[in-house]
Amino acid sequence: MTLKHPPGAATWLLKHLGSGQDSDAILGDLAEQYSQKDSAIWYWRQTMKAIPISYVREIRRGQIPRLRALGISLMTIVLIVLLVSDIDSFWKIGLASALGGVFVGVMMFLRGDSHEVMAGPNPIGDVRIDSSKIPVRGGIGAGILIVVLLSGVLVALPELRLLAAMALLAGVAFGGLLFIWRRHHAP
């Protein structure tokens, strides 16, 4: 019996863009079904739907790798800037901030939901300050967004450079304090 090989490009995309502990099993299942169905359209449909599903799973479990999160954040910002490139810089920054805030908020909401499910103490490395928790990865995402937005301010609005530099320093100082706090108070 000759084996039918599924479309290589779709497999490559799912292997490299999709992720999660089951990605090998999913690729195996798709290859097995492809050998019987022999439909490239079906295979592409399955892989293209599998990629966003794997991201939602990772975000829900708080397992999205930092570099990938950084890549997604930067790509999102670039896309937003390209989409609104004909409007005023001030509104562009405002819109990007609002969308970034919504993005971080949704991530934190999804991660908050997973707290009830995951077992064990402090499974995702949150920092406890008083009665509230700051998710470390959420904080990193927010920090990246702030740095990118401030860079935009520095380039587009030179008169605000001093304010932006001060805000950046304050952000770095706050991050450093959180880091020190965690080292001394982590369970």
Partner: protein
């Protein structure tokens, strides 16, 4: 629905067979990745358990992930069935057939 599919499939429940069973019963195409996402949540709730199986050439040398329903999962199915039966019993007869 997934838990029922696992019960029907017994020891042969992995992505391909589960997708086939669901497609057979619902008549709709199933996204394989969504099965794993749902089973992942059920596994978090300890309603299903999984193990890695053998790899075959037609799978590109990749291992299968077998799933089985746990005792807690069976209790969950029983509870869901009881609730559904209660809801059905409270309905008046449907047009042309009994509820």
């Amino acid at each position: 629905m997934l838990l029922l599919a696992l019960m029907r499939l017994g020891d042969d429940a992995y992505g391909v067979t589960i997708a086939r069973e669901l497609e057979k019963q619902t008549g709709r195409e199933v996204v394989v990745a969504s099965i794993y996402a749902s089973l992942d949540r059920l596994q978090d709730r300890r309603l299903v358990a999984s193990r890695l199986g053998d790899a075959t050439p037609e799978r590109g040398g990749r291992a299968k992930r077998y799933f089985r329903i746990t005792g807690a999962g069976i209790s969950e199915v029983r509870d869901a069935r009881r609730s559904l039966m209660n809801l059905w019993n409270g309905l008046p007869e449907l047009k042309g057939e009994k509820a």
